[in-house]
């Protein structure tokens, strides 16, 4: 398979995955339990995306002083719960990360 073919096929496949349920909408009525779970998708998917970056160092669970990302993440969670500001959360998270590196 040529590189061009690989790129085009993976592009089409990626697009098809993203289009899947959007295209089905209105033509097919998903079961009730499925619809009821949809509001949980952002929490489930985005938390799964973030957690390993905060909790793992080189593939091992670490919540000690050697993992500044975990503590910066804790700060970010607290700030996000306190003030719903994305910029403030990012600012405090980075400040905590860089500070921990200095200490």
């Amino acid at each position: 398979m040529s590189l061009t073919a690989v790129i085009v096929i993976t592009g089409l496949l990626t697009f098809a995955i993203r289009l899947s349920f959007i295209a089905l909408e209105g033509r097919y009525q998903p079961p009730g339990w499925f619809v009821q779970l949809l509001p949980f998708v952002p929490i489930a998917a985005l938390t799964a995306l973030v957690a390993p970056e905060l909790l793992l160092v080189g593939g091992r669970l670490s919540v000690g002083a050697d993992n500044p990302r975990f503590w910066a993440g804790v700060v970010a969670v607290v700030v996000a719960a306190w003030r719903r500001s994305v910029l403030l959360t990012i600012g405090c998270g980075f400040a905590a990360l860089w500070l921990m590196r200095l200490l």
């Binding site: 398979m1 040529s2 590189l3 073919a5 690989v6 790129i7 085009v8 096929i9 993976t10 592009g11 496949l13 990626t14 697009f15 995955i17 993203r18 289009l19 899947s20 349920f21 959007i22 295209a23 909408e25 209105g26 998903p30 619809v35 009821q36 779970l37 949809l38 509001p39 949980f40 998708v41 952002p42 929490i43 489930a44 998917a45 985005l46 938390t47 799964a48 995306l49 973030v50 957690a51 390993p52 905060l54 909790l55 793992l56 593939g59 990302r69 910066a72 993440g73 970010a76 969670v77 996000a80 719960a81 719903r84 994305v86 910029l87 959360t89 990012i90 998270g93 980075f94 990360l97």
Partner: protein
């Protein structure tokens, strides 16, 4: 569409604004992709085109690595499909909110449906914001434009990034800022805890499959908890 023009622009800009903080993480990531793609022996033009044809950050990294390792084409296609499986969850999540749109809108928004655009737009979509499709379009377009520019910079100029600053950390921080306000009750917090625990346990699975199954497992937990809490 009988809506007045300014509202569409306002919704579009709302999406753009929601995405802009992610540039801190996305732009360096895109630049590094451009560099890695060239190092893997992918021609510059193909590396740049891949960013608009495939348009999926981590999948493009894996694609470049597999091309560099001389993997067979079918394996590469399969790997990218697995890496992008999680986008089916996003598709299911936004589908009810895009139901009434013309086909060209559905195609456009599906093409732009990345982790970042989804994260930026979903709080607005779930709160039933007017012209949610314009918000998602704004977020998707902003990410698309930044990703193309970053790829181009990486391919043409190479990477001169201050690695010490860990700018990639901007993405998890932004996602935290998006998810935490959604944790409005004990059941939602429990779903987040299950997702985090499973994602950590399954992290070693190849092609980001652990991420996908962690999300599915957390959704299963949400279903079980919903059943329990019903009278």
């Amino acid at each position: 569409m009988t809506a007045p023009e300014p509202s569409r622009a306002a919704a579009f800009l709302l999406g753009v604004r929601a995405l802009l903080p992610m540039y801190l993480g996305v732009i360096p990531f895109g630049i590094i992709y451009g560099v890695v793609a060239l190092q893997s022996g992918i021609p510059p033009l193909a590396a740049v085109l891949m960013s608009s044809i495939v348009f999926a950050g981590s999948a493009q990294f894996i694609l470049a690595q597999l091309v560099g390792a001389g993997a067979p084409g079918l394996l590469i296609v399969g790997a990218v499909g697995l890496v992008n499986l999680r986008h089916a969850l996003y598709s299911a999540s936004v589908a009810p909110m895009l139901g009434g749109l013309p086909r060209r809108w559905k195609i456009l928004l599906a093409y732009l449906l990345t982790d970042e655009a989804y994260a930026a737009a979903i709080p607005h979509l779930m709160s039933g914001a007017a012209r949610g499709h314009w918000i998602l379009f704004g977020a998707g377009f902003a990410l698309w434009a930044g990703w193309q520019a970053a790829t181009l910079i990486g391919v043409v100029m190479g990477a001169y990034l201050p690695a010490d600053l860990s700018l990639d950390f901007a993405l998890p921080l932004t996602f935290i800022a998006i998810v935490v306000p959604l944790l409005t009750d004990g059941r939602r917090i429990a779903v987040a805890v299950v997702a985090a625990a499973l994602a950590v346990l399954l992290e070693a699975w190849p092609y980001k499959l652990g991420l996908f199954f962690a999300a599915l497992g957390a959704l299963a937990a949400a279903g079980i908890l919903s059943r329990w809490s019903r009278p």
